[in-house]
């Protein structure tokens, strides 16, 4: 079969790889109908995530049709149409029982490496390094789905791929980012990053009743999409973020702050970003945490910082004293996708939200390597790329 394979930093190729096969009784094989490039795939593309090996199949946002089912799988049958969440979960361990699916205790088959890296292993993820199990990803014609009697979500034929595909990651990720804020009707929610997750976080915050949603970026096309859902926007090339947020909140700062940027914060807006970039070049720091610093500084005391943005390693100069003295709550983690999918699918069916709004480019899987560059460089108004095998 054909797939997009990671061959090194900035080197992704459309290659022929062996077809996947059933390995465990609970497995299923999915024929992919649509897959997407996620912002967090760019961390792999840019070489910031450890644990990648040449030839790894990328992709953790995908959906398709079940074409083969393991002998122990009673949930799926051949022909089912499913979206596959990026977090692989067994449904039986203590964490899964609590709904903490992204830290499933059994699905990461490289537990020993992950234990050493993170202290304790987190869940297996599709196409996201050997630290998270080394599972082949979904930017391919076919995918093997482990624990396929738990992880996949059946979706109705009446909805298009573009309407349901993002149930596998970015929609629940934006939703969980907002839910983690415990939004009150009086809250101002500030969101850093108007990429796909930031867009979903903005709409989720609105649906959850935020008084005001403010989104921070510097790309006019992304800001225009944020404005479409009624969000106020701050272009950090033109305005000072902290001053503007304080102005909008009577000098008190936003109650809830969401970091939808993560480890590759834009370099150039403030001095600390140069410091981070220099340290990164000297291999003295792995991530650029400018957004974290700014959120801690501007957030209202007793507020909440919600961090769906992916961080990979070590950050420097985090004002922890400020965080402690202001009594801020920090909520973060990979998304517990399966916790939200049933509810969010119903909201799509009811018309509360149509996730296809975020799709700006649809291309064949063969053009994937070029689309990684287009997405990374934010060319041609690119916000979300869907690939068709």
């Amino acid at each position: 079969m054909k797939a997009l394979c990671w061959q090194g930093k900035h080197d992704i190729r459309y290659e022929t790889v062996p077809d996947p096969r059933i390995e465990e009784p609970r497995d299923a094989i999915i024929k992919v109908s649509s897959c997407a490039i996620c912002g967090s795939d760019l961390h792999l593309f840019d070489g910031f995530m450890p644990g990648m090996e040449e030839g790894d199949v990328l992709g953790h946002e995908f959906m398709g049709e079940v074409v083969e089912v393991g002998s122990g799988n009673r949930k799926l049958k051949v022909g089912d149409r499913v979206v596959v969440p990026f977090t692989i979960c067994c449904g039986e361990c203590e964490q899964c029982q609590r709904g903490n699916f992204s830290v499933c205790e059994r699905s990461n088959r490289n537990k020993e490496i992950a234990d050493k890296t993170f202290g304790h292993a987190t869940a297996g993820l599709f196409g996201y390094s050997h630290l998270t199990g080394g599972y082949a990803g979904g930017q391919a014609e076919y995918v093997r789905v482990p624990y396929a009697d738990v992880t996949p979500v059946k979706v109705p034929q009446a909805l298009s791929d573009e309407q349901v595909l993002f149930l596998g990651d970015i929609f629940p990720t934006g939703w969980q980012a907002a839910v983690q804020c415990d939004i009150q009707r009086t809250d101002t929610v500030a969101i850093w990053g108007a990429g796909p997750v930031g867009q979903f976080a903005a709409r989720s915050a609105l649906l959850l009743g935020a008084r005001e949603v403010v989104i921070i970026d510097h790309l006019p096309d992304r800001l225009s999409m944020a404005k479409a859902c009624g969000a106020l926007t701050i272009n950090f090339d033109r305005e000072r973020v902290v001053e503007r947020l304080n102005e909008l909140t009577g000098g008190k700062g936003p109650e809830k702050c969401i970091d939808a940027v993560g480890m590759e914060s834009h370099v150039g807006s403030t001095m600390d970003t140069f410091y981070d970039r220099a340290k990164q070049a000297l291999m003295a720091e792995s991530d650029r945490p400018h957004v974290l610093r700014e959120m801690i500084y501007v957030c209202r005391p007793a507020g909440v910082l919600s961090i769906p943005g992916v961080y990979g390693g070590l950050v420097d100069k985090i004002p922890f004293g400020m965080l402690m003295n202001k009594g801020l709550s920090v909520r973060t983690g990979q998304t517990h996708v399966n916790r939200w999918t049933t509810d969010l699918l119903r909201r799509i069916e009811e018309g509360q939200i149509d996730p296809s709004f975020v799709v700006t480019h649809t291309e064949s899987l063969a053009n994937g390597p070029q689309m990684y560059k287009t997405f990374r460089d934010k060319q041609d108004g690119c916000i979300k790329v869907v690939l068709k095998p």
């Binding site: 609590r98 709904g99 839910v179 983690q180 804020c181 415990d182 009150q184 009086t186 867009q199 709409r203 989720s204 609105l206 649906l207 959850l208 009743g209 935020a210 790309l219 006019p220 096309d221 225009s224 999409m225 404005k227 479409a228 859902c229 009624g230 090339d237 033109r238 305005e239 000072r240 109650e255 370099v267 150039g268 403030t270 140069f274 410091y275 970039r277 220099a278 070049a281 007793a302 909440v304 909520r331 509810d343 909201r347 009811e350 018309g351 509360q352 939200i353 149509d354 296809s356 709004f357 975020v358 700006t360 480019h361 649809t362 291309e363 041609d380 108004g381 916000i383 869907v386 068709k388």
Partner: protein
């Protein structure tokens, strides 16, 4: 491109106007130095390019000095014994300079000027080491630091200006009709709450009206 774009959605492309660009604000200490380079008009855009080219030639010149007059320079800035590092820095300066001069457009040129900023940081760090040792006669590491800091400010201003010029020249797409929600923002504000219960493990805030709780506690 855009084969699968929903048919109902029509994007309009436009290039940001110069009036929009005039709203850019520089917030570094080098605001005054950068004024000449702010891309509010085509004349000023040209000034930014001239400034970048000037920095490119300066970079090459400094690099040549660091390579050919290493010992004399090391003496002047208090870096005796670190000549080999100075030579490496010289190569770095020449590479940055060539990169700036050869860059085909503002976006690439901006990247090379940012590379200079990273180099400036390394220079400052090295000079700081020199100030922590006994300073020989006729060595002036502090003065060198001040000079490098000044050039750094100029580099930052130039790089930001180039970056803004590149952003402004970029064709942008208007997605302001792509709300993705089932009604106007006002209609949809709080729409999910009808069937939503905040998970117990993600509760973070008490309601803003605490008067009932205060009354209960005081009674």
């Amino acid at each position: 491109m855009h084969q699968g774009r929903p048919q109902t959605l029509k994007e309009s492309h436009h290039v940001e106007s110069r009036t929009d660009r005039s709203a850019f604000a520089l917030d570094t200490k080098a605001r005054a130095l950068a004024r000449v380079a702010t891309p509010t008009t085509s004349r000023r855009s040209s000034a930014t390019t001239k400034l970048a080219r000037g920095l490119g030639w300066f970079s090459i010149g400094l690099g040549v000095v660091e390579l050919l007059a290493t010992r004399a320079l090391a003496r002047r800035v208090g870096l005796q014994g670190r000549e080999s590092r100075l030579r490496v820095y010289g190569l770095r300066e020449i590479a940055s300079g060539i990169g700036i001069l050869a860059a085909p457009h503002a976006a690439h040129r901006s990247g090379w000027v940012w590379a200079r900023v990273v180099g400036d940081t390394m220079d400052l760090s090295t000079l700081r080491e020199a100030t922590e040792m006994p300073i020989p006669l006729r060595s002036h590491p502090v003065a060198a630091m001040v000079a490098v800091a000044g050039v750094t400010a100029l580099d930052i201003a130039c790089a930001r200006s180039l970056q803004q010029e590149a952003n402004a020249a970029r064709q942008t797409t208007d997605y302001s009709h792509r709300s993705g929600i089932g009604g106007s923002p006002e209609q949809m504000r709080g729409a999910a709450l009808v069937t939503f219960t905040q998970p117990v493990d993600m509760r973070a805030a008490l309601p803003v009206d605490m008067s009932a709780l205060v009354r209960e506690q005081s009674s």
